[in-house]
C-alpha cells in the first residue's frame, strides 16, 4: 500500500509539471497583461514599459516560466501584481473560508443524496422515485448562479432570514453563529448542485447492489428488510459513492468560484475571479497549481479509499 502511494506520487510529478506549463501558456495567451489592467491614464508609455521590464514581462515566455519554476522550487510563489503582498499569504488568508464552504457543501450534499438515493432505489418507479429523479435533474441543470440569486432573493430579501453575502456581518462581533448564518445559503446552493448528480450515483449504485445474490442470502437468514437494506446493501452501495468524493472535489472547486462570487464569500474562488480580472499572473499560477495538486491528490485519495472500503481490493 505504502509502495503504491509512493508510486502514484512519483507518477503525479510529471503530470503536475505539464499542468503548470499548460496553465502558463493559457494565462499568457489571454489578451491584455497585468500592467494594462492597473495603469492609470496618467502614466506615460515609458513608465509602462519600465513597469513591464521591472516585472519581467518583456522576457521570452520560456524564461518567465523558468523563473517561476525556479522560485517554486525554493517554495516561493512570488508577489501578487495587484496587492504586492506575497501570493502565499494571500492564498493562506482565503484558504480557510473556502475549505469551510466546500466541506459544509459536501456534507450537505451527502446528507441530501444518500437517504434520497436509497429511498428512490428501494422504491424504483414509484412516485418518490420520479420526484427524486426530477429533483436531481434540476440540481444538475440549474446553474448555480441562478440558484444562488434565487436563494438570495427568497431567503434574504423576501424572507430576510439569512444575510445576502459575506462571511461576517460588517462591524459585527464575527461570532460563530454569525458565520454559520452567512455560511448556510452559499453552502446549500453549492451542496444542492452536487447532490443532484450524487443522488443519481447513489440510486444506480444501490439498484445494482439490490439485485445481488448476497442480499437474498441476508433475507433468507430472516433479517428485517430494514437491516438488509441499510446494512448489507448500503455498505456495498457506498463503495463507489465514498470514492466519488475524489471526483467531486474538482467540481466543488469549480462550483465554489461561482458561488463565492455571488455570495461575496472571501475564499479562493473569489480570489481567482479577481486575479483573472487583474491578470495577476503569479496569483493565478499559484491558484492553478494548488487546484492541480488538489485534483491529483483527490484522485489518489479515491483509489486509496477503494482499498479501505472494499476488502477485495489490495494494492501492491
Amino acid at each position: 500500500m505504502f509502495q503504491y502511494i509512493i508510486r502514484r506520487i512519483l507518477i503525479a510529478v510529471p503530470v503536475l509539471f505539464g499542468v503548470t506549463i499548460f496553465n502558463f501558456l493559457i494565462i499568457n495567451l489571454a489578451p491584455g497583461n497585468p500592467v494594462d489592467m492597473f495603469v492609470n491614464p496618467n502614466m506615460s508609455v515609458a513608465d509602462i514599459t519600465a513597469k513591464k521590464e521591472a516585472l519581467g514581462l518583456n522576457d521570452p515566455l520560456w524564461e518567465q516560466y523558468g523563473r517561476w519554476m525556479g522560485n517554486l522550487f525554493q517554495g516561493d510563489f512570488g508577489y501578487s501584481f495587484s496587492t504586492y503582498e506575497p501570493v502565499i499569504s494571500n492564498i493562506a488568508d482565503r484558504l480557510g473560508p473556502t475549505l469551510l464552504l466546500m466541506a459544509t457543501a459536501l456534507v450537505i450534499a451527502y446528507l441530501i443524496a444518500i437517504p434520497i438515493g436509497i429511498l428512490s432505489a428501494t422504491r424504483q418507479y414509484s412516485f418518490i422515485d420520479y420526484l427524486t429523479t426530477t429533483f436531481s435533474f434540476f440540481g444538475i441543470s440549474v446553474p448555480s448562479f441562478f440558484l444562488g440569486l434565487g436563494a438570495i432573493y427568497l431567503f434574504a430579501i423576501v424572507f430576510p432570514i439569512f444575510p445576502t453575502g459575506g462571511m461576517n456581518t460588517l462591524g459585527g462581533s464575527a461570532g460563530f453563529t454569525d458565520t454559520i448564518m452567512h455560511l448556510i445559503l452559499p453552502a446549500l446552493v453549492l451542496g444542492t448542485g452536487i447532490a443532484g448528480s450524487m443522488v443519481r450515483y447513489v440510486r444506480s449504485s444501490m439498484l445494482e447492489v439490490l439485485g445481488q445474490d448476497y442480499l437474498r442470502t441476508a433475507r433468507a437468514k430472516g433479517l428485517h428488510h430494514f437491516i438488509v437494506n441499510n446494512k448489507h446493501a448500503l455498505r456495498n452501495a457506498l463503495i463507489p459513492i465514498v470514492t466519488i468524493i475524489g471526483l467531486e472535489i474538482p467540481l466543488l472547486i469549480g462550483g465554489a468560484v461561482v458561488t463565492e462570487q455571488i455570495f461575496q464569500w472571501p475564499g479562493l474562488g473569489q480570489l481567482t475571479i479577481q486575479s483573472i480580472g487583474s491578470r495577476d499572473y503569479p496569483t493565478l499560477m499559484a491558484l492553478n497549481f494548488l487546484a492541480a495538486i488538489t485534483v491529483l491528490f483527490s484522485n489518489l485519495i479515491t483509489d486509496v479509499m477503494y482499498s479501505v472500503v472494499d476488502p477485495r481490493i489490495k494494492y501492491n
Binding site: Q3, I6, R7, L10, N316
Partner: protein
C-alpha cells in the same frame, strides 16, 4: 459398430498427426513493487505435449484453473505461448509469416463456451457469418450469400434467420451460430472450448449430436475441452486429463474410463454423480481440500497434496508422462 470404431482409430493412429504440441508453456507474470518487478509466475500451462490425429477427437478434461482453456487458446493462436512449439501439419506455427498465418487461421477455429458473449450483439447473423468469408477472401462475393445459407442449413437453423440479431436466439441456437461461424471457413481443426457447459441438458444433447455429425460429414478434427465427463466421453476418441497445468494421463477414452491409472483421473471419475440411483452407495474417492494455486504449485508431483496414495517420493520428484498408448505421469500408477 465396434468394428467400425476400431477401424477408425487404427487409421488415425497410423497417419501422421495433424497437430503436435511440444512442451507448451503459458506463464503469466505476477508483478509487485514500485517498479513492477516480476516476483513470480502463474503457471497456467506448464509444459505439456500431445498429438492430435486427423479426424479424431481429443478430449481435454480437468477442473477450473487446470489450464485446459489456455491450451486451446494457445493452439488457435489467440495467445502467444511463453515457451514450446505448436506444429500444425508438420510446420511450426511460430515460423509462419503473418500472411501465411492468415491462411492457417482459417484452418484452426474455435467454438467458445458462452455463445452469447462471443457474438457481436449489434450484427445480424448473416453479417456475422459472411464477415470471415469476405475477410479471408475464401469465396467470390456473389457466392457469399449462398454459402451462408448453406452453412445455416448444415447446423440446423432456418435460412430465414440471417436477418436476426444474436439476442433473438436461445442458448442452443446461439451455439449453433457459433459452430456455423467456425465451420464456414472450412477448418481442419476446431477447438471446442466447453461448448455445451452453458446449455440445458436437452440442448446439450442436440449440440453434441450435431458436432458428431459434422465431424463425420466434413472430416473434422476436434480438441474438445470440457469439465462434464459425460459429454467428453461421449464425443472423444482419446482423453487427456489435466491437473494444475500438466497432463497427468492420456489414453483412449475407454481405457481411461475402465482403467484409470492416475489417482487423479480415478478420483475425477468416481466423483462424477452418475444418473443411476442404484449406484448411489458405491464407494467413492472424495479428494480432500482444494486445487492449489498455479502461482505456487506443490513440489514434486503437483497432485501430492490431495493424493490418497501419496508417498515420500511424490513430494520430491516430478513424475514424467510415460507409456505409449496409455501414458500416465505418476510414480505409483494404479493398475
Amino acid at each position: 459398430m465396434i468394428l467400425e470404431s476400431l477401424k477408425e482409430t487404427t487409421i488415425s493412429t497410423e497417419s501422421s498427426p495433424i497437430l503436435q504440441v511440444r512442451n507448451l508453456k503459458q506463464h503469466y507474470p505476477i508483478t509487485k513493487g514500485i517498479l513492477s518487478r516480476t516476483v513470480g509466475h502463474v503457471k497456467a500451462v506448464d509444459g505439456i505435449s500431445f498429438d492430435i490425429f486427423p479426424g479424431e477427437t481429443l478430449g481435454l478434461v480437468g477442473e477450473s484453473g487446470c489450464g485446459k482453456s489456455t491450451t486451446g487458446r494457445a493452439i488457435v493462436q489467440l495467445e502467444k505461448p511463453t515457451e514450446g512449439e505448436i506444429i500444425f501439419e508438420g510446420k511450426n506455427l511460430a515460423d509462419f509469416s503473418s500472411r501465411e498465418m492468415r491462411k492457417i487461421r482459417t484452418d484452426l477455429q474455435i467454438i467458445f463456451q458462452d455463445p452469447y458473449s462471443s457474438l457481436n450483439p449489434r450484427k445480424r447473423i448473416g453479417d456475422l457469418l459472411s464477415e470471415p468469408l469476405l475477410f479471408h477472401k475464401l469465396v467470390e462475393p456473389f457466392e457469399v450469400k449462398k454459402k451462408v445459407d448453406d452453412i445455416l442449413e448444415v447446423v440446423g437453423l432456418p435460412r430465414a434467420y440471417v436477418g436476426r440479431y444474436p439476442h433473438e436466439f436461445s442458448g442452443g441456437q446461439r451455439q449453433r451460430i457459433g459452430i456455423a461461424r467456425a465451420l464456414i471457413l472450412n477448418p481442419k481443426l476446431i477447438v471446442c472450448d466447453e461448448p455445451v457447459s452453458a446449455l440445458d441438458v436437452s440442448i446439450q444433447a442436440q449440440v453434441l449430436n450435431l458436432l458428431k455429425d459434422l465431424q463425420k460429414e466434413f472430416q473434422l478434427t476436434f480438441l474438445f475441452i470440457g469439465h462434464g465427463l459425460g459429454a467428453v466421453k461421449y464425443i472423444s476418441d482419446r482423453i487427456a486429463v489435466m491437473y494444475l497445468g500438466n497432463i497427468v494421463e492420456i489414453a483412449k477414452t475407454e481405457d481411461i474410463f475402465k482403467n484409470p491409472k492416475h489417482p487423479y483421473s480415478s478420483a475425477l471419475l468416481s466423483a462424477y454423480p452418475v444418473p443411476n440411483p442404484h449406484l448411489r452407495n458405491k464407494e467413492k474417492i472424495v479428494l480432500q481440500g482444494d486445487v492449489p494455486s498455479p502461482a505456487n504449485p506443490p513440489s514434486g508431483c503437483k497432485f501430492h497434496t490431495r493424493c490418497p496414495f501419496v508417498q515420500s517420493k511424490c513430494r520430491e520428484e516430478v513424475p514424467v508422462l510415460k507409456g505409449i498408448d496409455h501414458s500416465v505421469a505418476c510414480h505409483f500408477p494404479l493398475s
